[in-house]
Every structure is written in structure tokens, then in C-alpha cells.
Symmetry: C2
Subunit: 245 residues, 2 copies
DNA sequence: AGCTCTGGCTTGTTTGTACAAGTTCGCCTA
DNA sequence: TAGGCGAACTTGTACAAACAAGCCAGAGCT
């Protein structure tokens, strides 16, 4: 673990534990540098990490301010339903309802950087939190990873983790589109809600470290079961609003 | 404009214009430093900016990779419906349907850091894109900014911009919670949809540069009109999934 | 042909220095 | 008392240097 990560982690703990309540000022960079016997540049990297997490804000000339005190989750917990559920103290389970190979559609070819007509693996999964059905996941895997996915146990908890352990596949980047849709008849049946009732939809494309697309997924959460949360600032602005399709 | 921002802007333009297509390698830091006659540290600040925007990814030892080529919008465009609409080429309009002072509820007192029972301003607005009703906005303003809000023109396009010009108020930080809800009868009537149909809800709290909360808002978008978009990576992870209320 | 290994390239981390720019607060003055 | 001024403090930007760690392609070997 790098020195600046240690310092960031130490400060984050202090904030989460209430040592620096919301609205309080953080010590100056010079003071932190002295306290941790590090150069000012190293301390700046540490607080930049906290700023990216939305925990602290800063303005030139003034002390840094604590903006929030909730620990933000890791990348893995955003991409893996099971890992997220575990970290929240829920028991996650899942079932593969169908799984079949087929040639990819033109739009999928673009999203996954495939040749038109190349084979993909189409998987439908139902996910549960503490036994309650919460999420319908329709995932399209690129052909080159399909064999490894097909080898997975149908009741497998964490696909992400299994793929890492079996073939060393690491998800590294993701793009996510979030909107609301009405439940179709299949969604309604699986989630146990009425047709037309609101669902939170997350469409995502995930790629490896090399930027190679692995999967494209359409996840639909039962309303009330999940909320997405973001902190942004004039400096860091990850969330973007787009016009509907 | 800082040197590293110039470099970032230059590289971003090149990426957006297709000079570096998705999947391509960026020049090495040393080469960029030479090209721009800047120190390597300065170049690193520039590419860190692009990485935060999700445009490029990096791994130690390998060249940086272009991951996306869409320009992400500014903070203002996320917080201000009007400024976002304008940048997307839409014509935005809005109407204040009601506006009244009342004592704040206990939960609002916490969210806006107010004394229990302190006065707040409650505003209901309907927003349109090219004439079409798209968004119902229920905003609660802290008492100290209420007079300035009440002085605004009821048909005012951009509240954010007007507040900046009239009292110099700058929104600097925001927290956003995104989920899906069914349209209530008021929502349905205003947006011209059926009761119970899906809406995309964005609840947000916005604060000033000093970390002082200004407004708390519940915005509901008609399904299909707006999508939120995010890019994340193992390094930068702004988006968080949370359990429902 | 296929494999390993190594050397050079590239990004990651840390330190040190210097100056610019903005904030804060006390002091002085009108 | 109210306002203006300035000094001290704090964050932002930029440069330079050095080493660590990981990647990659080409040389050489089997």
C-alpha cells in the first residue's frame, strides 16, 4: 500500500469515526505533512483521494472542509451484485434462468467491439437479497469469454469473483446508464410486481484493464430496493445527465 | 487557465475529434512533456483529469488507453436543468406552481443543517423541454436564501444562474440519490402520464463552497426523457449503490 | 515453431523547492 | 462603529530528480 493511500485511509477513518464532523476543517497540508513525516506532495495525493470520494472539499486559500462521512464502496461492489450485498450485510443469491449462444445484433457489435454476426452468450439471471427477488439481469457476454461463463455453477453467487478465480479475468472499467422503465410481463412475473410498475434500470458495459469489452448488461431493480448515490463538485464531475433515447 | 488544464483540453479535443480512437494508445508522458515543453508532473495532472472524466485508462508499465470519446458535461450542467438543456440544444422553460414559507421538518433540519423549526421556502416547479413537460421539481430552500429566491421571476429559466447574478450564490458541492418511483396523482397530472407509471427520481442536496447547505430537492423525470450516465474504474469510483429506504 | 528471459520503456510514488493566488483575521483609521 | 488595509496562512501550480514496479517486444534458446 502506497504511503499516500495509508494517509488517506487514516484520515478517512478519522472522518468516518466522527473525529472530523461534517463542516469541520481538516488540518492544513503543512501540519499533516509534519504529522505523517511526508512531503507536502504526498499529503496532497492523499487528500485528493478523499476529495474524489466526495468526503472533503477545498478552495484555494481556505482550509479543507469535511462534506460527508459515509464510506464509499469499491469498484467491485458497484459491478458485482454479490460483493455489494455482502458488504451491506445482506445474503445474496441468484439463479440462471436461461443461457444460450446466438449471433450478436448490430448494436451489440458496436457496444462490445465485435465483428457483426460474431457469437455472443446471452444469460438471464434472477438475483435475490435475503431471499427476496430484487433484480432481473440480462447480460450479453462477448464470445471469447463465453466458455468460462458457461462453466460456472448456475446458482453461483458472484460471477465476477468466479471469473477472476477461474480465468483471471479482471473487470477494470465500466460505463453505466441509469433510467426508469415500466416492468414488462417477464420482469413483473420474476420480480413479483404488477406489469407496468416502476423499475430502476442500469445498463452497463464493462471492459478489462486493456479496454477490451467483456459484457453488456441490462439490470432492472424493483423500485425501493436499491438507490444510486453520487457526490460531485465543481472540480470533480463524474455524473452526467443525458437526454433519453 | 492553468497549464495542465490547457494540455488536458488539447488532448481531450484530439480524442473527441477522433485523433485517438477508442482503444488507441496515448503518447507516453515523456513524449507529451517534450511536446508541450512541460514537466512530467504537469502532464500527469493533465491526464489525471482525463482519467477522472473516464476518457482514458491506465495501468502501470503500459501506455495509456483511450476508453471513451464523449465530452462529459460541467458541474453546472448537472445541477442546473436550464444550463444542461441549453448545452444539449434544447429550449428549456419552467413555471413556478407554488411557493410558500413554512417551518422545516426534522429530517429537513438535518439535511440542511438548520435549527429544528427554522423557516424554509417550499417551491414546486414544472420544467419543460421544447414545450413538453418533463420534470416536476419540489425544492426546499434554507431560510437564509429564501428572500432571493422569492424575488425571482416565476417563469425564470435558470434559477442557478439568476441566484448567481443577483446575490453571487455559487453551488459547489452536491449529493444525489437516484431511484425509480411510481407517479403520484399530482406528478401524473403535471407530467401528463398515468398514475403509477414509472418516474426517474433524483433527490439532491446542494451546498456552497463553504459546505453550507442551500437547497434540498426531489426531482422527478418522466420515463424516457432523461438518463444518467457514469464512467468508473478500479481507481476512480464515484458512483455507489445503496439499499433502498 | 514455440518458449523463456532480459533489457528498455512506461507509469507509479516520493521528495524538495519555488512562486502564485485566494482567505482570514486583526489592526488601524476615519 | 464601520470600513479598509495588510500580514500571515493555506491551497494551487509548476519544475526537477530519483527510484520502484509493471509491461512488452525482440533476442536467444530448445
Amino acid at each position: 500500500m502506497a504511503r499516500y493511500e495509508q494517509i488517506a485511509s487514516d484520515l478517512r477513518d478519522a472522518i468516518v469515526r466522527g473525529g472530523y464532523p461534517i463542516g469541520a476543517q481538516l488540518p492544513s497540508e503543512a501540519e499533516l505533512a509534519l504529522r505523517y513525516s511526508a512531503a507536502r506532495g504526498t499529503v496532497r495525493q492523499a487528500v485528493a483521494l478523499l476529495a474524489a470520494e466526495g468526503l472533503v472539499g477545498s478552495r484555494q486559500g481556505a482550509r479543507r472542509i469535511v462534506l460527508g462521512s459515509e464510506r464509499s464502496q469499491s469498484f467491485a461492489e458497484l459491478h458485482s451484485f454479490a460483493q455489494w450485498a455482502r458488504s451491506m450485510g445482506y445474503r445474496a443469491s441468484g439463479t440462471v434462468l436461461s443461457s444460450q449462444r446466438r449471433p450478436c445484433s448490430p448494436s451489440e457489435a458496436v457496444r462490445l467491439s465485435l465483428e457483426p454476426g460474431e457469437e455472443v452468450l446471452d444469460v438471464l439471471r434472477l438475483r435475490r437479497l435475503d431471499g427476496e427477488p430484487v433484480l432481473v439481469e440480462r447480460t450479453v457476454y462477448a464470445g471469447w469469454i463465453a466458455p468460462a461463463v458457461e462453466r460456472l455453477d448456475p446458482g453461483c453467487e458472484s460471477v465476477t469473483q468466479e471469473l477472476y478465480e477461474s480465468v483471471g479475468l479482471v473487470f477494470a472499467y465500466g460505463e453505466h446508464l441509469i433510467d426508469a422503465v415500466a416492468a414488462g410481463s417477464e420482469d413483473a412475473r420474476l420480480l413479483g410486481v404488477r406489469r407496468g410498475s416502476p423499475l430502476l434500470r442500469q445498463r452497463r458495459v464493462t471492459t478489462t484493464q486493456e479496454g477490451r469489452p467483456v459484457e453488456s448488461s441490462d439490470d432492472r431493480y424493483r423500485a425501493g430496493s436499491v438507490t444510486f448515490s453520487i457526490r460531485n463538485s465543481t472540480a470533480a464531475n463524474p455524473l452526467v445527465r443525458r437526454a433519453g433515447d
